[in-house]
């Protein structure tokens, strides 16, 4: 090992002693403090008493003495005084030297760097967490959306497609209100339905009605009619709301629809007759100023026309011949 010139070694010793606030404790095998000197006050150790147990006075030595090896080092220990010290332990025969070197400035610089790095990491962790939450919320939203789609699809079977579309597209609010419009209202029912039902089993009636209404509704929709409701064997639909082509065109569409319905019914009759069932329908319509209303109870809202109008038309149907009466 090269030896420093004596004057330089002395200067370094002085520099270290003063700049690093060197202090030491000398402890015997019984862990009694046998010597202490240097910048003890820098570490809050100015009042240590020689000849007394060291660990009771210098509590940060708890658990560290006696030494397990010849030298031991604990870096950057912040003491009560607020100063940070490197603790160097050095075994010397049966005794131990504990040397304290001030590293407060280095500790503060390291803290500044470390702080920035940790804050950056915390931000990144936060970002990851937020992204996870966002993904989770999106999944919930998708599930809720799927649920709504399922529900609205189910609801669609109970609403006229035009009404369904106007509500679910946001064109129309579900609220209590009335609109006065010129509507063409159509009413049809199956002639002698009551007598027919007496001949048929309930399952056969259901089958017949389902097929009948499916076919008639399809035709109504094709011509732009809004299927208002089915009442027993009766079908009520209207033209002019929520979509209209004008009063005359709406009425014309209604006539075309009724004609096609009768044609289709004739075809169905052939089929039903072969199956032992027979049916004829009568229908009527009227163009009249009427109001389409969102009829509401606490639990249910329906977009419909007032009952007086279909009643009037149904009376007209009753007075006509049973088969094809326009």
């Amino acid at each position: 090992m090269e030896v420093l010139p004596a004057s330089l070694a002395e200067r370094l010793r002085e520099l270290t002693y003063n700049e690093r606030a060197v202090a030491y404790l000398h402890v015997d095998a019984a862990l009694t403090l046998m010597g202490a000197d240097g910048h003890l006050d820098n570490y809050g150790l100015a009042a240590v008493r020689l000849g007394e147990p060291v660990v009771e006075q210098v509590y940060f030595l708890e658990g560290l003495l006696p030494l397990e090896e010849s030298s031991y080092f604990v870096p950057s220990v912040e003491l009560d005084s607020g100063r940070a010290a490197d603790l160097h332990f050095h075994q010397d025969g049966a005794t131990v030297w504990v040397v304290l070197l001030d590293v407060t400035a280095a500790r503060d610089a390291a803290r500044q760097m470390q702080q920035k790095a940790y804050e950056m990491t915390l931000l990144q962790e936060k970002e990851v967490q937020l992204n996870r939450r966002l993904e989770s919320l999106n999944r919930d939203l998708e599930a809720a959306n799927d649920f709504l789609v399922t529900i609205s699809t189910k609801i669609s079977h109970y609403l006229a497609p035009q009404i369904y579309k106007s509500i679910f597209s946001g064109q129309k609010d579900v609220a209590i209100h009335t609109e006065r419009k010129e509507l063409t209202i159509f009413f049809s029912d199956i002639k002698d339905f009551t007598a027919t039902t007496e001949r048929l089993q309930p399952e056969e009636i259901t089958f017949l009605l389902n097929e009948y209404f499916t076919e008639m509704s399809t035709i109504a929709l094709k011509h732009g009619g809004t299927v208002d409701k089915f009442i027993g064997d009766a079908l009520i639909s209207f033209f002019g709301d929520p979509e209209t082509k004008g009063t005359v065109e709406d009425a014309r569409a209604c006539i075309n629809m009724a004609t096609e319905m009768q044609s289709r019914l004739a075809e169905l009759n052939v089929k039903w007759r072969s199956a032992g069932k027979n049916s004829r329908s009568a229908c009527a319509w009227a163009s009249t100023p009427a109001s389409a209303t969102s009829a509401t109870s606490a639990a249910l809202t329906a977009w419909t026309i007032p009952p007086s109008v279909p009643r009037l038309i149904s009376r007209r149907v009753s007075s006509r011949s049973p088969s094809l009466d326009i």
Binding site: V55, Y59, G63, V74
Partner: protein, 167 residues
């Protein structure tokens, strides 16, 4: 005369989980919102009166590491017990705490410890499930939520550890 014992207790856990804040709450009954990372070790002392004995807890607040491999295990030398701290709003810190426990046990054998899931006051951001906590308890771990801000669970945890470390 009541016997006086002195026990070294180490605070272990990832960075920014609240180790320093827990010590500050326990020793000085104060809480600071400012996060100041610990470099090296900060040593404090707290005296606990257990009726039949007085225990001076020498609390070694060790720097939390982002990489647990850099943790200086030699700082645990002479410890009579330790406090594992995880941040309840950051689940990965629980893994860090459990890894540290593993390393301590490997190096020093079984020592009394408590596991604190800190920041319990941040209920909106809490991210460790009850089932997970129950699972830890079933495995014999002393686990408790804590808050350095409100003081919840702090005193009880240190007192429990003082009893076990000085028995």
């Amino acid at each position: 005369m009541t016997p006086v014992l002195q026990k070294k207790i180490c605070m272990l856990g990832g960075f920014s989980v609240g180790k320093t804040s827990l010590v500050k709450r326990y020793v000085q009954s104060i809480f600071s919102e400012t996060y100041l990372t610990t470099v090296g070790v900060k040593i404090d002392k707290k005296t606990v009166d257990l009726s039949d004995r007085i225990v001076n807890l020498i609390l070694w607040d060790l720097a939390g590491e982002d990489d647990i491999n850099t943790f200086r295990m030699t700082n645990m030398r002479g410890a009579a017990g330790y406090v594992l701290v995880a941040d309840g709003t950051r689940p990965p810190t629980l893994d860090v705490a459990l890894s540290l426990r593993q390393r301590v046990e490997t190096e020093y054998g079984p020592l009394p410890f408590v596991l604190l899931l800190n920041k319990s006051d941040l209920k909106e951001e809490w991210a460790i499930g009850d089932a997970e906590v129950e699972g830890l308890r079933r495995n014999g771990l002393w686990v408790q939520p804590s808050s350095a801000r409100t003081g919840e669970g702090v005193e009880a945890a240190f007192k429990d550890l003082a009893v076990r470390a000085s028995s």
